[in-house]
């Protein structure tokens, strides 16, 4: 961006902040920053949303049930609480699965199970109801696992879901039952729920089976949720390279995969925010190192495949990976060549998730587009500033109430996949383990980074800068379009996708081309109207 625009950014920021009461302004000010030259810029993140500000964020329960467990086909997810929480989270995410990939073919992802608490359960406790519901689910479906999710009122009335889970698990003998204390008021967003989900999966599932997929190069893919079939694309790529995928957390996933995921030799993390906890714990307990990869963007995909291959230090694997990359890049390049003249110089804004607002910048760059504003819905400071800030992050009351598991090396199963010398040698060659730089280094000077953007800020931002495309979720979709700006949903992909890997990148280029060059916006003014300008003044009623 030019110097002049840079000034604009600061003025704009000041104008928006002015609309808040002083206390709110102080808080939002730290979460709403203009990118400067300095590499050490900081941003506030993962702090509680101010009441009355309309946020994109959901709750801890949403993160726990929807994100980590939801995409796993053979777990019955039972919501313990009043009806709404379960009803609203029924089959709303577009995670895909191939039930046929499991020998039993179980798939409960299309179901919604709830205890539908009534008045008397709130007054007298809901444990009996919960027990009954678990029993019924077991009798009807005979699933391998039942997961229980607590909603807000449950935490208050003090039902002990973990005791009930334990009791029922012992009673059944052939069904793993475990609970998540993921009441919506915990933490500040879905992120707290991811952490709780990670903990419980680690505690109750990982390491309970040795029957994992066999192969020479075994990895787990972490933080890939198979929206629109992304994981299928990645599975295909890995397979062609000869890499064995033991488990994907959580896309096209089965609880059996999780159970044996400690047999993999490398953890590759896509969405760092939602799942880094499991990777950390697996390293400590089983000796599996982790690396950050990203399959969004053609170049990033190539880089990630190479990174996985280099880890195994096998020339044969590296050769195969290069072959696959070459095969795929030819197609990618020809599409870029065709489309880029139509997208070059256009701009995007992205407010979504804990990694997508960063990863998708790769795809826009490949089209010659610039991301002029971005931020996460439930990110933490390390998602913006990189892992180097971890030691300086202050733990506040909202994070303190989320359990940190104490993990030690497993006396039998701990097996460092690489010796310290081997790791050091790799690192000396520039190989990075546990590396994540965050979004900040990729943002241009004068651009905006806004954490937990409010509805109001979003509308002002669009009005002022009119990006060529805006990416967020369905809650934002229709306001954005009403303002005459194309919008792409990055949670559900609007029924589109896949966008991962090389094939996905091509899908994305074509979609963005269609969106930013759409003619529909030109029809807005009716010919019989004199003034038909879309861009009017801001009316605050």
């Amino acid at each position: 961006m030019s110097e002049k625009k840079n000034l604009d950014s600061d003025v704009f920021r000041a104008n928006v902040m002015e609309k808040y009461p002083p206390k709110v302004m102080k808080k939002r000010g730290k979460q709403f920053i203009v990118r400067e030259e300095s590499p050490d810029q900081t941003i506030q993140a993962n702090v509680r949303t101010v009441p009355g500000i309309i946020t994109q964020r959901g709750c801890c329960y949403a993160g726990c049930k929807g994100v980590v467990l939801g995409p796993t086909r053979d777990i019955i997810n039972l919501t313990h609480g009043p009806i709404g929480c379960g009803y609203y989270s029924w089959l709303t995410r577009r995670n895909q699965t191939r039930a046929g990939d499991s020998p039993d073919g179980d798939n409960y992802m299309t179901y919604c199970f709830s205890t539908d608490m009534q008045d008397q359960n709130i007054v007298f406790g809901g444990e009996k109801l919960l027990r009954q519901a678990i029993q019924e689910a077991y009798d009807t479906f005979h699933p391998k696992a039942i997961a229980i999710f607590s909603t807000c009122p449950v935490g208050l009335i003090g039902d002990d879901i973990h005791a009930v889970a334990k009791e029922m698990k012992e009673k059944f003998g052939d069904c793993n039952v475990f609970g998540f204390s993921c009441e919506g008021y915990k933490g500040v967003s879905q992120s707290a729920g991811h952490h709780i989900a990670n903990n419980q999966i680690f505690k109750h599932v990982v390491g309970t089976s040795e029957e994992g997929r066999k192969g020479k190069y075994k990895i787990n893919l972490l933080g890939e949720y198979n929206i629109g079939g992304d994981a299928f694309v990645i599975e295909n790529l890995l397979e062609r390279c000869g890499i064995t995928l033991v488990a994907t957390y959580s896309g096209n996933s089965s609880i059996d995969h999780f159970a044996a995921s400690h047999t993999a030799d490398l953890n590759a993390i896509m969405c760092y925010r939602s799942i880094n906890y499991v990777a950390e714990m697996m390293e400590t307990k089983y000796g599996i190192p982790w690396v950050k990869i990203n399959f969004i963007g053609a170049k990033a995909t190539a880089k990630s495949l190479r990174k996985i291959a280099e880890y195994f230090e096998d020339p044969e694997l590296m050769k195969r990976v290069e072959e696959v990359i070459e095969e795929e890049m030819a197609g990618v390049e020809s599409v870029i060549e065709e489309i880029r003249p139509r997208t070059e110089g256009k701009t995007s804004m992205m407010f979504v998730g804990g990694s997508r607002a960063h990863h998708y910048q790769e795809l826009f760059r490949e089209l010659g587009m610039t991301t002029i504003a971005a931020g996460y819905e439930f990110g933490h400071r390390d998602d913006y500033e990189g892992r180097r800030v971890l030691p300086t992050i202050k733990v506040d009351a909202d994070s303190r109430n989320i359990e940190e598991l104490k993990v030690e090396a497993d006396p039998e199963k701990f097996n460092p996949r690489k010796t310290e010398e081997q790791m050091a040698a790799l690192q000396a060659k520039g190989y990075e383990f546990k590396d994540y730089e965050g979004m900040l280094p990729d943002m241009e000077k004068g651009s905006f980074m806004i954490d937990d953007i409010s509805h109001f800020e979003m509308e002002k931002l669009i009005e002022e800068y009119r990006p060529s495309i805006f990416c967020a979720g369905i809650k934002e979709k229709y306001s954005v379009q009403k303002m005459g700006v194309p919008m792409k949903q990055l949670h559900s992909y609007d029924y589109g996708g896949p966008f991962a890997g090389f094939a996905g990148a091509i899908n994305w280029y074509r979609e963005i081309d269609r969106a930013v060059n759409s003619k529909v916006w030109k029809l807005i003014g009716a010919p019989w109207e004199k003034s038909n300008t879309l861009h009017g003044s801001f009316v605050n009623k």
Binding site: G52, I54, D116, R131, Q132, M483, N540
Partner: protein, 457 residues
């Protein structure tokens, strides 16, 4: 099932409350409790209406959950006022707030000091009712703003016109628009509460709107006390929360509770009542010629489709008042509503009423599944009941797929198709378009299954 609900057929009360608020002009909703509920509800609405929907939250944290939410609510409201400057703020409570015993009424005195804003509130714990209950409760809370009409007031001078209040139940924006047009065609001055026909089915914006325009104004609500009569749809929903009764208590305006005017018989009853009211109050109210014609066309259509539909059986589901109106309408088409499922709890008398109204059309008593879910529907469809189609909201898709039966989408929510907000159900026009849709659904299945693929009927 006894313990677990599997694939529910109901949402929670705060959703209904927020929907009612969308029908009040220049208003904002705040849901008192944790932010997740507000986010889920916004998302749920947006999936159906495909319009922006803002619902604020008082964003409880763990401490608030223990020590109470007063401070969060006051802060939340001050932020809303600063940024959106609404004239009305509606406060509903989530289950969490209700569980810890938050009493919004206690905060009202403090809130009365906020200048230029009128507050409406209701308690809406989901564990005490479903979305339709929340809708009626919030509507009743708004109706309490109606003011008693003093004699000699200017309204009297507009003589000769019937003045009605219409409490239209949770119908679609298209339905509200159609009713409004009807009222104006019949020279009736009507106040609708709520009226989200524009706020939830709006146009593109030429200017940024912090709060989408449309909805019933506060002034209009206040004047509801001047009406001759209130008409409220939804007899079962009205038993639990009754806005028309609130208006009556406050202002003395009498009321009638009618079935949703869906299908020929219910629409006839609606018009009959209005014409009756006109003559009772000495106002001339005539059925517009166009309505007469549409009624004729509807009968024509009934005759046309009868040979294709008569003898079929359907499963219907949804809110009780909507479900029973749809069931009655299907009977008019010759379709037997063999099973009627709702997530709402019904007492024996209410069940008997529904069965009676269906028996009236000459069909044997349908199986009524109250306090039920789609899994219950699946099990009767798999066993004792043979059905040919499902009629209800899009949440029945899984059941329709499982049973291999076509689904005709009506009501709320319709999130897997475009145009849910524009489905017209009410009046002769609504019945006509539903008739075509249902008949075409059945015929298209037959056509697709036919090896020849006939191109005429």
């Amino acid at each position: 099932m006894e313990g677990a609900v599997v694939n529910p057929c109901k949402a929670c009360a705060p959703l209904g409350a927020a929907l009612a608020m969308k029908g009040i002009s220049s208003s904002m909703s705040i849901l008192h409790g944790s932010q997740g509920c507000a986010t889920y509800i916004r998302r749920f609405f947006i999936g159906h209406f495909r319009e922006p929907v803002d619902i604020a939250s008082s964003s409880f944290d763990e401490n608030t959950a223990v020590f109470g939410g007063r401070e969060n609510l006051i802060r939340g409201i001050s932020n809303i006022v600063k940024k959106y400057a609404p004239e009305v703020i509606g406060i509903a409570t989530s289950c969490l707030a209700e569980t810890i015993g938050e009493d919004i009424g206690m905060y009202m005195k403090e809130l009365a000091e906020v200048e230029g804003v009128t507050f409406i509130h209701t308690d809406t714990a989901a564990y005490q009712g479903t979305h339709i209950n929340g809708f009626m409760k919030m509507t009743a809370a708004a109706a309490a703003l109606a003011e008693k009409h003093e004699a000699g007031d200017s309204a009297d001078s507009v003589s000769g016109r019937l003045r009605l209040n219409i409490i239209p139940w949770m119908v679609s924006p298209a339905d509200i628009r159609a009713l409004k047009r009807l009222m104006s065609d019949m020279n009736i001055d009507a106040v609708f509460l709520p009226d989200y026909s524009l706020t939830l089915d709006g146009t593109n914006w030429s200017d940024y709107e912090a709060i989408p325009h449309g909805g019933t104004t506060l002034d209009a609500i206040r004047t509801m006390g001047r009406a001759h009569h209130t008409i409220q749809f939804g007899p079962v929903s009205s038993e639990a929360a009754n806005p028309a009764e609130v208006i009556k208590q406050k202002t003395g305006v009498p009321y009638s509770v009618l079935q949703l005017p869906l299908g020929l018989k219910n629409t006839d009853a609606f018009f009959t009542r209005i014409i009756e009211l006109g003559s009772n109050y000495g106002c001339e109210v005539k059925l517009p010629e166009e309505q007469r014609e549409t009624r004729g066309r509807l009968l024509d259509a009934y005759a046309d489709v009868h040979k294709y539909l008569a003898g079929l059986s359907a499963a219907v589901y949804g809110e009780v008042d909507f479900m029973s109106a749809i069931a009655g309408f299907l009977c008019e088409l010759g379709i037997n509503p063999a099973v009627c499922m709702t997530g709402e709890q019904l007492n024996a008398g209410q069940i008997k009423n529904i069965q009676g109204s269906i028996a009236h059309y000459g069909f044997s008593s349908p199986q009524i599944l109250a306090d039920s879910d789609f899994a219950d529907l699946d099990s009767v469809l798999g066993a004792e009941i043979k059905a040919d189609l499902l009629v209800g909201n899009s949440r029945g898709f899984k059941s329709s797929r499982q049973a291999g039966l076509p689904l005709v989408r009506v009501g709320f929510p319709v999130q897997d198709r475009f145009g849910g907000q524009r489905i017209l159900h009410l009046g002769y026009d609504g019945a006509l378009s539903l008739t075509d849709r249902i008949a075409n659904k059945i015929i298209s299945e037959k056509q697709a299954a036919s090896p020849v693929g006939y191109m005429s009927m």
